[in-house]
């Protein structure tokens, strides 16, 4: 199975082929169309996750019913909420720093959507949902994901509100403290795979790790190196700012952090951005630890969606169950705990791969 995805035709070329276009024009049209499709799939998932799934999941954890009046299982709340949120007045604080105040809510979702460009999402029918496969794919996705913290600082600073400012500064402190362990842990995967290219990392995980009673357990890096998986999971939670590391928002302490002053469309954009980042975090985890779109019977894309929703479910579980740590404790865990552990993991992996294997 190794190398199966490599060199495969990507979505833009497939679309260009389908439309019978060739040359640079065909690539450009195909790429735009592909990006439109992938972006909309992600936005649609966010739309389901934000107003509906999040409520339903939290309610299940906390012994409540949540939305159940509008439509089957309350699903039409998505429509009602969209109308409600978009119909609200857009209030802009009088001394807001205008260009950056307006840009921040656009930068946040955009950075997450960019990240999905290099994620291999598997097959859906004849289509291979994968927009681009650069050699430095993994580095690129981290780069895109960390643009988020710029958006948070922009929003926090430009709002001219002390709570927002504190939230923005917390976001930076948190991102710096957890980005390093996150990427160092991801490096241990790169050592296994021998490449930063997403398709190679996925393909390498297709090998059989061990065969149990006729069932092949694939060599997903979560099975190969569960320690790195857990480290990455924790760092990822902090990176996307979910409980117990949701201190940039911390409603009971700093009201809503960087998004305190945002309302209406801007608020929706921030909210979208946050959920997109959760899904992007899930997508990165699925790709480098859970075999990407691999899975039996169902099409690859379905498996991919299942995996990122599993991660979403996990974040909501943590939200319902874990208290928030304090900012100094968070930084301490990041610098004194996660960093050391992630480097230990990297060195050990390097020794095992380079010396023993």
């Amino acid at each position: 199975m190794a190398g199966l995805l490599q060199g495969e035709v990507l979505l833009p070329e497939q679309l260009a082929d389908l439309m019978g276009l060739e040359g640079p024009l065909g690539v450009a049209v195909g790429a735009l169309l592909g990006a439109f499709i992938v972006g909309n799939i992600m936005l649609a998932m966010t739309g389901v996750a934000g107003p509906w799934a999040k409520r339903k999941i939290t309610a299940a954890f906390t012994d409540r019913f949540a939305v159940n009046r509008i439509g089957p299982f309350g699903l039409f709340i998505i429509v009602a909420d969209s109308v409600r949120l978009l119909g609200k007045e857009l209030i802009i604080p009088s001394n807001a720093d205008r260009p950056s105040y307006d840009l921040a809510p656009i930068v946040l979702p955009a950075s997450a959507l960019l990240g999905f460009a290099v994620i291999p999402m598997g097959d859906l029918g004849p289509l291979n949902i994968h927009l681009a496969d650069p050699e430095a794919g993994l580095a690129l996705v981290f780069a895109f994901a960390s643009i988020a913290s710029i958006a948070l600082v922009m929003g926090g600073y430009a709002s001219n509100n002390k709570y927002s400012l504190m939230g923005g500064l917390r976001a930076v402190a948190q991102n710096i403290a957890y980005e390093i362990p996150l990427i160092v842990t991801a490096m241990s995967v790169v050592i296994f795979a021998g490449s930063l290219q997403m398709s190679t990392i996925v393909a390498e995980q297709g090998a059989t790790l061990v065969s149990l009673g006729g069932i092949d357990i694939p060599a997903w890096y979560a099975f190969v190196n569960p320690f790195a998986f857990v480290l990455f999971l924790v760092a990822n939670m902090a990176e996307i700012g979910r409980n117990p590391f949701d201190i940039p928002e911390a409603p009971t302490e700093i009201v809503a952090g960087y998004q305190t002053e945002y309302s209406s469309v801007y608020f929706v954009l921030f909210y979208l951005g946050e959920f997109l980042h959760i899904f992007l975090g899930g997508a990165i985890m699925a790709t480098i630890f859970l075999g990407g779109p691999a899975g039996p019977v169902l099409p690859g894309f379905v498996w991919f969606v299942i995996k990122i929703w599993a991660f979403f479910l996990f974040t909501q579980w943590a939200r319902s169950a874990l208290p928030r740590v304090r900012i100094d404790q968070l930084i301490e865990i990041g610098w004194k705990g996660m960093l050391v552990l992630s480097f230990a993991n990297l060195v050990l992996t390097a020794i095992i791969v380079g010396v023993i294997a």
Partner: protein, 553 residues
């Protein structure tokens, strides 16, 4: 079977004569209250008198400061008690000149005098010399006159436009440019202030340098409303509205106790058992809400704990609804008893309550699993919001806040009323002095309350049918003798809830002063939070379990 009384052997009790000898040359007269000897002293010897009483006689609890205006003078009364034995009480009465009411501040001896004297200044108009920060506390700074003073003009317009007053916004509120600190308004609109509380915070980065609670947003003139109502029926509904978070019956008991002691009403034993049961049910409901909201402050989201605590509180409220007909504003107590007996069929009521109590240990186990056993919660609460016992005493902290600081003080046992002294239960004390201890105290107090309710249910079930007297024979109007003064307290959900009443021979009180436990407890917030992080200050605020309705009255 009965509860073990605390060791009072170490607490020497002084006779009124001994105290008079101790105060010696400071005393200029006697003005005894119903349950405490009262000594009149000169306005400039307050500190000296209180210091002698505290250091040489052991009166270490300044329970309350009452101020009032007479036809010929102003008067501040310092109600002193002992934490080791609150039945020993003494009142220090400080008259002040009618034209120029100035009195010495007790702040140097008892820190709790700070807020109490500010309130006296605000509402009555006595000025306190040497007070560190004498300004209005409940009313806005722009308020004209002192509403509980005799010469107060009710018709004077109070809405003063900013242009006629110093506009607080015109002044540059920014700290000097070289300053390293940041000023932050936490509240009155903030998700974690449990009501309309405004905390003025000075921060150094994320750390609290200074913190000042600003209260009064929910001031509803409860004292004056009680002064305008008759003892017999009209006052009783008001206490429900002080600590309105399910603690209604406990508050009603505060009034019932003081009025019954004043009018010499004997409450039938059967009614006492019902009162005890109802009050403990209220305490459970109040503590459940405290648990849930504290979890909310620490977790930051509506988690299962909040829902579970609301669920358990709901069941208590159902029982209370069966008993009183109401879910929040009970109005169930009457002077001399309660308004009606247990609902019929009695067996069903008792069975319902027992079912609930049976399931309670499992529910509490759940809380322990999810809260106290959670390592992140321990990380957040252990050794944060530390309140050493001496500081707590100086601020007059009572209830779970004091008991979480290792102060073994519970009026239900130490100054027995109702049926408590005949039942078997324990006072919960934790000596961690931190947020975690206060949480533990509340959780364990729920167990003890359940134990009390259980015993009450047994008693009620077996009570002979022809002896079920729910009310004593109380006259239709109550007119205590002129100039009768009394201060009495009960153990409310948040601590010592006391009431001072002065009668003037009519059927309405001449002065009705409420000593709110939350008012005193909230004063400790700066002590607990200074130097700590903002999240810890929020956690400390949650652990104080304040109800603004009771703080502001």
């Amino acid at each position: 079977m009965s509860i073990e009384l605390p060791e009072t052997a170490g607490v020497t009790e002084q006779s009124p004569e001994e105290l008079e000898a101790l105060l010696d040359e400071l005393v200029i007269g006697r003005d005894d209250h119903l349950n405490a000897p009262g000594y009149v002293i000169k306005p400039d010897t307050v500190v000296e008198s209180l210091r002698r009483l505290r250091d040489d006689a052991g009166f270490d609890h300044l329970s309350c400061v009452t101020a009032q205006e007479y036809d010929d003078r102003y008067e501040s009364i310092y109600h002193l008690k002992k934490f080791d034995d609150p039945t020993q009480e003494v009142s220090i009465v400080v008259p002040a000149d009618k034209e120029n009411p100035v009195s010495q501040s007790a702040n140097a001896v008892f820190r709790t005098a700070d807020w109490h004297e500010r309130e006296a200044y605000d509402l009555v108009g006595i000025e306190y010399d040497e007070h560190p920060n004498l300004k209005r506390i409940l009313l806005p700074d722009t308020w004209q006159g002192h509403p509980l003073g005799q010469s107060y003009d009710q018709d004077q317009p109070q809405v003063v436009p900013l242009r006629e007053h110093k506009n607080p916004l015109l002044e540059d509120q920014r700290a000097a440019s070289e300053s390293e600190t940041m000023y932050l308004n936490i509240g009155p609109h903030h998700p974690a202030t449990h009501g309309v509380l405004h905390v003025k915070a000075v921060l150094d980065g994320e750390q609290v340098v200074d913190l000042e609670p600003d209260i009064g947003y929910l001031h509803r003139c409860e004292e004056q409303m009680c002064q305008n109502s008759t003892y017999r029926y009209q006052i009783m509904p008001y206490p429900d509205r002080w600590d309105y978070i399910s603690a209604g019956l406990l508050n009603e008991w505060a009034y019932a106790r003081v009025a019954e002691d004043m009018a010499d009403i004997e409450v039938p034993e059967y009614a006492q058992v019902i009162r005890t049961m109802g009050a403990e049910l209220c305490r459970m409901a109040a503590h459940f809400l405290a648990l849930g909201t504290f979890a909310l402050d620490i977790y930051g989201d509506f988690t299962a704990i909040f829902m579970y605590s609301i669920r358990d509180r709901e069941r208590v409220q159902n029982i209370l609804e069966d008993l009183t007909g109401q879910r929040l504003m009970f109005n169930y107590f009457r002077l001399g008893g309660v308004v009606w007996d247990l609902p019929e069929p009695r067996e069903e009521f008792i069975e319902n309550a027992r079912d609930y109590l049976e399931e309670l240990p499992t529910a509490l186990e759940e809380y322990h699993d999810m809260m106290t056993a959670n390592e992140i919660l321990q990380l957040r609460t252990v050794d944060t919001g530390v309140l050493p016992p001496e500081v707590a005493k100086s601020y007059g902290a009572t209830g779970p806040v004091a008991r979480g600081s290792g102060i073994d003080y519970d009026l239900r046992r130490d100054d027995p009323y109702g049926y408590y002294d005949k039942l078997d239960w324990d006072v919960v004390v934790e000596d961690g002095c931190d947020n975690y201890s206060r949480l533990l105290v509340r959780m364990r107090e729920v167990e003890q309350s359940a134990k009390i309710v259980e015993q009450c249910l047994d008693l009620l079930e077996d009570w002979p049918e022809d002896e079920r007297t729910i009310q004593a024979n109380v006259p239709r109007t109550i007119k205590p003798k002129d100039d009768t003064e009394i201060y009495r307290a009960v153990e409310g959900a948040k601590g010592e809830l006391g009431i001072y009443i002065r009668a003037d021979g009519t059927e309405k009180p001449a002065r009705f002063k409420i000593r709110s436990p939350c008012f005193s407890n909230l004063q400790t917030l700066p002590e607990m939070s200074n130097g700590e992080y903002v999240p810890d200050a929020i956690a400390s605020l949650g652990s104080l379990d304040i109800v603004l309705g009771e703080v502001d009255r």
